[in-house]
Subunit: 753 residues, 2 copies
Amino acid sequence: MKTFIPGRILPLFILISCSQPPEVAPEVPEIKLVSTFDVALDRDTQSKLESQFDAFLNPQNLDDWMKHMSSKPHHVGSPWSKQNAEFIAEKFEQWGFQTEIETFEVLMPFPKIRKLELVAPDQISLELKEPTLAEDATSGIRENLLPGFNAFSADGNVTAELVYVNYGIPGDYEELARMGIEVKGKIVLARYGGSWRGIKPKVAYEHGAIGCIIFSDPKDDGYGRGDVYPKGPFRMDQGVQRGSVLDMPMYPGDPLTPGYGAKKDVKRLAIADAPTIMKIPVLPISYGDALPLLKALEGPVAPVKWRGGLPVTYHIGPGPAKVHLQLEFDWELRTAYNPVAKLKGSIYPDEWIMRGNHHDGWAQGASDPLSGMVSLMEEARAIGELVKTGWRPKRTLVYAGWDAEEPALLGSTEWVEYHRDEIQGKMVVYINTDGTGVGFLGVGGSHSLEKLVNEVSSDVQDPVQDVTLQERVRARLRVNGNRDAEREDLRIYPMGSGSDYTAFIHHAGVPALNLGFGGESSGGSYHSIFDSYDHYKRFNDGDYAYGTTLAKVNGRLVLRLSEADILPFRFVNMAENIGTFIESNKKLAESVTKKTEKRNKLLDQNAFTIAGNPKKTYLPPKRLSDVQDFDFSPLEAAHKRLEASAWNYEKALAGIKKRVLTAEKKIEVNQLLREVEQSMTRAEGLPRRDWFKNMIYAPGFYTGYGVKTLPGIREGLEERNWDETHFYIIEVAKALDRASGKINSAANILKAN
Amino acid sequence: MKTFIPGRILPLFILISCSQPPEVAPEVPEIKLVSTFDVALDRDTQSKLESQFDAFLNPQNLDDWMKHMSSKPHHVGSPWSKQNAEFIAEKFEQWGFQTEIETFEVLMPFPKIRKLELVAPDQISLELKEPTLAEDATSGIRENLLPGFNAFSADGNVTAELVYVNYGIPGDYEELARMGIEVKGKIVLARYGGSWRGIKPKVAYEHGAIGCIIFSDPKDDGYGRGDVYPKGPFRMDQGVQRGSVLDMPMYPGDPLTPGYGAKKDVKRLAIADAPTIMKIPVLPISYGDALPLLKALEGPVAPVKWRGGLPVTYHIGPGPAKVHLQLEFDWELRTAYNPVAKLKGSIYPDEWIMRGNHHDGWAQGASDPLSGMVSLMEEARAIGELVKTGWRPKRTLVYAGWDAEEPALLGSTEWVEYHRDEIQGKMVVYINTDGTGVGFLGVGGSHSLEKLVNEVSSDVQDPVQDVTLQERVRARLRVNGNRDAEREDLRIYPMGSGSDYTAFIHHAGVPALNLGFGGESSGGSYHSIFDSYDHYKRFNDGDYAYGTTLAKVNGRLVLRLSEADILPFRFVNMAENIGTFIESNKKLAESVTKKTEKRNKLLDQNAFTIAGNPKKTYLPPKRLSDVQDFDFSPLEAAHKRLEASAWNYEKALAGIKKRVLTAEKKIEVNQLLREVEQSMTRAEGLPRRDWFKNMIYAPGFYTGYGVKTLPGIREGLEERNWDETHFYIIEVAKALDRASGKINSAANILKAN
């Protein structure tokens, strides 16, 4: 599904200064971090390999495959999704990979009834239809097309007054409370944006709403951003954003098989007992359909920041607009087809480097996900070509095309859950891609891989500007005045959720990365029928220059991870990033305290009432409970130990001659290195969601895709559960100490040789 | 015309801590500032007088006069403007004031031809008409109505491609340059906002444009803010904002008689030689009329911040939209009628306290200006009632109704120019009002009056909330987290331009104030035919609760200024405020330096090009000339002397018993006190505009209404004229030293007695 942030460009990786060891590790002498080439790879051999790899890449293949695979709707359960899975598997096989299509039987409800009408003050039945456009060859396809709907909405048949709730996130309900407006028994109208969509019905339900309508506002996602399709790339008035509303921040994947693979005969939860299925009916609509609803609302005028791009005054309601919303789904199990291809490693066959991209789309799905899928395929083909020359990877390479990502990351999650033990035993890294575009390389992931990413991004040229990918990103950071712009390594962003890396990094604790290009290919085709080949060719990476470059980047990552005798995990960058997470949590604690004191003082002064407009209802906010003092010192001490271990490892690494290490010792060191990420997980997981086990990163419980760093601590502060914050300060400290232990052990082996 | 800032509430006065003397004046002991009552007024007598005054106030009068005076269009030159002037004069006379109507013959062009049509790609003639509404009794009047136009636009008959220039301020042209777009030979389309309207054609002309169209964007001034008229108070799709585009930041008033009164037989400039008349045709239009123009533009999509509330993608052009704009004016002299009423002072007849409000409006002008005018009238009537009880003011009170404020502050400016010598000899304070509304008291003016304003605002109750006016403003500052919220006195804002105080404070150097209520009465009737009695009654201060309260505030100011034996000018607040102006100019110098270094470094790094999207023209910005070092120390030293003099005066004031001072000494002290403001003027004025003589405040040369503090210094920095900044640092220091001299002289007289 990829992370869609209207009006925002992808977060991008930025610099940390690694040549200066942090002050907190005085026992470690200042040393220059060495490159992977100096300690683990032979530069000439590797460069030659990578040049050969590059030479095999051919953009025409991406175009051919894109055109073929996007020619029909290919959501999970559709005939074309199965066809695409078979097409991909066939190719992998043809390129020399040992391939199978692994299937899971997952719950995937298709809509049977979708009805939305305004019943007061006027009667208007909404169209809920995307049009056929002459300029878009596949827009007329209706066979096997899923119309605009939200996967895992509840069935429902409700009629109630409407309330406009802005983005429908928790802060919006605080504002509604101040306006004296409740949504209990009402249907809420929320606009897309401000959070992952599934948060909107979840929070609406928590506040007593009985239905939820989500519309694409033209300010965020329509003519307010640029010319609309087919004149330009942006969302036209009848374009609808499909998407899942399963409560994935609780657990993604099949809602009926939490924590285990959804194989045919396993025991399943009853649908009524599945906690992640939304409890109220939810429907996405276009801004064309939203207009009469907004026009019919009265009540207070929406606050300035709540106003969108439709040519009306946005009112809150409730009513007099009243709507009837009827939704019914078939609640069937459907087969997800995951083509998985392996190329066995010649030296370390039990160490796996995995690449993945989903192949299912909401409709034609050209940009999302096929743009990333065809890049992955070309990368795999070029690896296959290398094999034809006689080369074999030292480690086992695994390439996958995931099905059913869109409704709930189903294909990848079930695969990880089903193979968890083997994955945790063997997988070194999972590298994800998804829809990709034009512009700047964006990289998120485990910070132990930050240095490797930078080594690669400074070795690959931008296809348009005559600089490396890293230099291009750095130039933008400079122009934007980013304070990390002059750091040696560009920072990679910590990952929340929104694509298939989720189960790997958050559930299994496997180091993961997510990569793609963006920033110059914005548009409004996301999850609509207009995410088509025609749209992609005209407005996105039509010549596949960036798709091919992405293959160069991922190819290098795979080849260096595969060939390095000592895996290129590096912990100085990791420790520095974790230090920033601790710092930002401390700042959050301070700001929560300040906010609490400020608000309560204003209440004592009666300032809200005195400053209030007596003609408008705007109640003072609630008094806040006192914030406790938090002792971050155990965590800070653990962090110092982590920094020391990172520098200890660097010193050991710089000192070795790689050839004096025996194969057994290498395996032992590498085992320890890839266990570092896993050592920072906790079996009991996070509060209210034990599926999420990583103590360093998680998607936000109330943001959905957006990351929370040190989530146990942070969400305790945000949700004012002080006990959780106290508890997780200690738990994160323990996690860091476990990581330090692994790193020091690895260093000790290096030093002893 | 009042300052109209769409989407913003009026600036409000905020606190300074006066109980703590600044560190820089160590020679002065810490003392508590005494109140005016303790040193210059008998509290019991004064309180009784003010209570009597309050008791005379009757909101019904405001309603009666408002209804009568707003019943027809009453711009300068209209029959009803003369009628209103006579009505006001009659009332003043009736209330015991010696009244005359003083006239000036001022240039005031009325439109003869107004034509605007899109000629390509389609042919559309625009309506340029405001509709008659059943809900608004005066909206159907067409007799003597001035249609939508900009006063002092040039005649013109031009056809050219259109370019959308956002607000049309200098920064917007920098952005256009980066997009590679020039306006030379084009007609620009600018939206209202971001500056005073006259800046838009002035800057367009400087860049070579041959015409300028200004529209009200619904985001800033229409349905984007709330329900439109007649359902709600905001601007409807055909509502037009009239207004002047005379280059008033150069000099306001009659363009043909700069610096002297426009009496009948004086020598006048030829129209062609008048530097303040706009050089290109300018026309304001509604957003209904702007829509087809914006729709017809192509070229780059406007930057995010340039996009308004119309349901189209905002493009820049140039073209293919091409427009034909034809404007012709009659360029006639018209008579401005200023009713001026005097009540002779019993003790100090040659010390004048003046009140003024304009009476001309663009059409029916209910809110702007009559809401303030009727409050002033009721205040004058209550003063008249006091006189009937046998009371006489100690000083001479002067009440004026200005004509022709809307086109160029004509009535007040010509009056000040004509009477300048007498004004400078006699006037103590000029207190201005203009359109006023509902909510929070806003006060701007000379900071020597800040303490007096706070004494008054903490003595008058808010008519709705059960707190004083000062407490209400303070509550809002608290809620907004303003750092001055807990200061003892609320700060008053420094004044730029936009109403009739301009000639007093900026040209004659008379201490001045400007007061009004706002913040809870926003709407979109400004300068349209819908600024009517009906609109005001429904959506503004319909019961005149705030209009009557404004009379209480101004009545107190007048009565305390009139009765105080020692005039209530206080200089500790003034010095503290000037200190903040110096500080902000120093910060500006730093930020100009930083911005210059940053930009030039980015150019050296080629960062703009590398980070740029190769598919879009977005050129690097221009390299900036090096910034010089500025030596603020002479100014800071002068400021320390000013602070010391202020504390010296406070000490002297606190020590005196007022009755030991002879009448002659009082006159001598008061003479010195009111000369302080004048001493901070400079005969040669500001660069490029010698009419503006105040060294502390001026309207911005490129903002129009918005104030520039220490304008010689600040605009030198903003316009990168370093020599000006060097020069005015010294000139402002001299001005402060002149003020210190006056203040110390006054203190010495007090001490000697």
